[in-house]
Amino acid sequence: MQFQDIGQIILFAVVVLVLAYPLGVYMAWVYTREKDDVVARGFFRVLGRGSAEEQDWKSYAKTVLIFSLIFFGLLYALLRLQGHLFLNPDHLPGVTWPIALNTAVSFMTNTNWQFYGGESTMSYLSQMSGLAVQNFVSAAVGMAVLAAVVRGISRRRAGTLGNFWRDLYRSLIYIMLPLSVIVAVILIWQGVPETFSGHVTALTLQGGHQSIARGPVASQISIKQLGTNGGGFYNSNSAVPFENPTGLSNFVEMLAIVLIPAAQVFMFGRMVRARKHAWMIYTAMFAMLAIGVAVSVSAEQQGSAVLQQSGVNIAATSTQSGGNMSDKEVRFGIADSALWAVTTTDTSNGSVNSGLDAYTPAGGAVPIVNMFTGEAIYGGVGTGLIGMFFYILIAVFVAGLMVGRTPEWLGKKIQAREMKLFVPTMILVLTAVAIATRAGEASIFNSGVHGFSETLYAYDSQANNNGSAFAGYGLTPFSSALGTIDMAFGRFVPMLAGLALGGSLAQKRTVPASAGTFRTDGATFVVLLIGVIVLTAGLMILPALTLGPVAEGLLH
């Protein structure tokens, strides 16, 4: 490995922090300012009387659910009908129902699992007015819900958490839109296409013809990264040079993946006036990210069993990156590919710049574990930090039991919640169903234990609204339906649990800290939090890991 490889990983960690902190401060301001701007006031007038009123958690949750359902319905209709609609220069037909169903749920839940190749399936109208809009909106829904939950935590003896329409508006206009314009400009400069013209046919040097897919790519890629969406314009996602042409574009896209989730930790710290506590949460997240990067980069650099045995040169030198270059791009090499794989699964982004199916057993196990934590390591926009709150509650509860006091968090007494176990349990059950049935077997591409890993990855990824894949896993009506259930429950169960938590904490009064209060702003808390995540998520995934990546690693 070259020193630049270590250098760019460290640079990445530093730049994330330098940008995330001020952004978090800004976001706290966005969600707490009293006054609405003039556009917002007009917007609420159009929505009707009472649309900007404070809501309790149940009313907030109902609005989120209705809004998401309506969006799903309209998106499904659009995909089915695209063949008859405009902005379809390549004359693509309507999308078949298994793909349309899975895709509509996938984008509505901020998953962006893709059972299709974008450039060959989706018309420009579908990409722009369906998928790209959903990239903005589903991310903003997650951010709005987080803002409501955090408000609930910060309030005392209050019945309400804020207003969904206001939070949605502010997430979109104050945060997502300006950031995605900035990122899109950088990407266009680096070479990502942005045009309404269709495919162009080149006459190649050897006299052949090559059709090149283009489109309004940059504007979609910037938001797919910022909104932890991950759905690509092209099938091979950000491995395709048109989505990600240079080392710099790669760096900016990786920043965009992790920026908002990282900033939300600092936003939380300011909104609940517990900045040191937020730093401790950030530290725990960063430690787990760093471990993942170390394991993944070194495993990929060593190369896969097949490549080691083949006798080709896999050593890292100044003229090649070496290692497991299967399904990876030369301009990213090992370090940038593995770093991306870790950040995209720590957050619920799911875009990829290399093919994860080809990763070494250890390199591929890191994403599986990352996702299985419920994306609490940074996590998806909004939803990730909500997932982390449940781990914090368990940590505080465990600490309370140890010192023999009623557990408290941020001055409020809390009860145990088992919510955290719902999603991991669902993943294991659905994986078992997909493995045990003939219909599930049909989706598997690679034979043997790697086929098990493909299946586990698919339901792990969809449940956590990630969307990355061991991409050999194929589309059948069965896998489409199973995945649809997986994504919908994986999205809304934790979200509703989060809102319920916010609603219950908002009503409580705070008790002053005493000598017996477990401190959540010190190193002990960081260790305890990591321990809780490892024990709950880690122990649940271990048997499944043994059947998949561990067995594969041992067999060769």
Binding site: L47, G117, V181, L205, G303, S304, L307, N313, V330, D357
Partner: protein
């Protein structure tokens, strides 16, 4: 409550579609076409007035006169309208076969120009599929391996070919980000340019 929320949802979706679905991409397209027209259109490369490819997409090179690309998993190979990974697992026998066949082909092609060439001299990117199937770059190591053949077939001094290789090597962005790569299409275009065929 329910109907009011449904109406509000539809209104918000319509407004969002206008802003994020149409206005935002339209503005970005307008900006891109004005500020960075070449990139915005796909970094197309022209020769004699017609498009010969894109600097961001590999294309098929088979003859001995040209530098060759990395293997591609798309159908047909180097399909820039339907990209894909190979998706072979790290222990798959298909992967082993593909690597073996590709290595044999390279030894056969480059061996005559590189006496004593063995499989351990073949860089790993030369025998593995890329992520996109249209990776425009090869590692500098793989370019160096091919340079003797191209120089011999084209009757060019090796130094000239090596010079062109370094000219079309993209370094790390800002000196640190990404990995160096040699753009094969640009390199081959330069080789075909009569200005480069003469001995200096």
């Amino acid at each position: 409550m329910l109907t009011r929320n449904i109406i509000r949802s539809v209104l918000v979706i319509v407004v969002s579609t206008v802003i994020f679905g149409f206005a935002y991409p339209a503005l970005m397209v307008g900006f891109a076409q004005a500020a960075f027209p070449s990139q915005a259109d796909g970094s197309l490369l022209y020769h004699d007035g017609h498009v010969v490819g894109s600097a961001l997409a590999a294309q098929d090179f088979t003859g001995p006169r040209y530098f060759h690309e990395r293997p591609s998993a798309t159908t047909p190979a180097y399909n820039a309208a339907s990209t894909t990974f190979a998706n072979f697992g790290p222990t798959s026998t298909e992967l082993a076969q593909q690597v073996h066949q590709q290595a044999e082909a390279i030894l056969k092609l480059e061996g005559p120009y590189n006496p004593g060439l063995t499989i351990s001299d073949i860089p790993v990117d030369a025998v593995t599929t890329s992520g996109s199937g249209i990776d425009p770059d090869i590692s500098p190591a793989y370019a160096q391996l091919q340079s003797r053949r191209v120089a011999a077939v084209r009757h060019l001094p090796l130094a000239t070919v090596d010079e062109l290789i370094s000219k079309y090597t993209t370094g790390r962005s800002l000196g640190i980000l990404g990995d160096p790569g040699v753009n094969v299409l640009e390199l081959n275009l330069a080789l075909d340019n009569p200005a480069n065929s003469g001995v200096k």
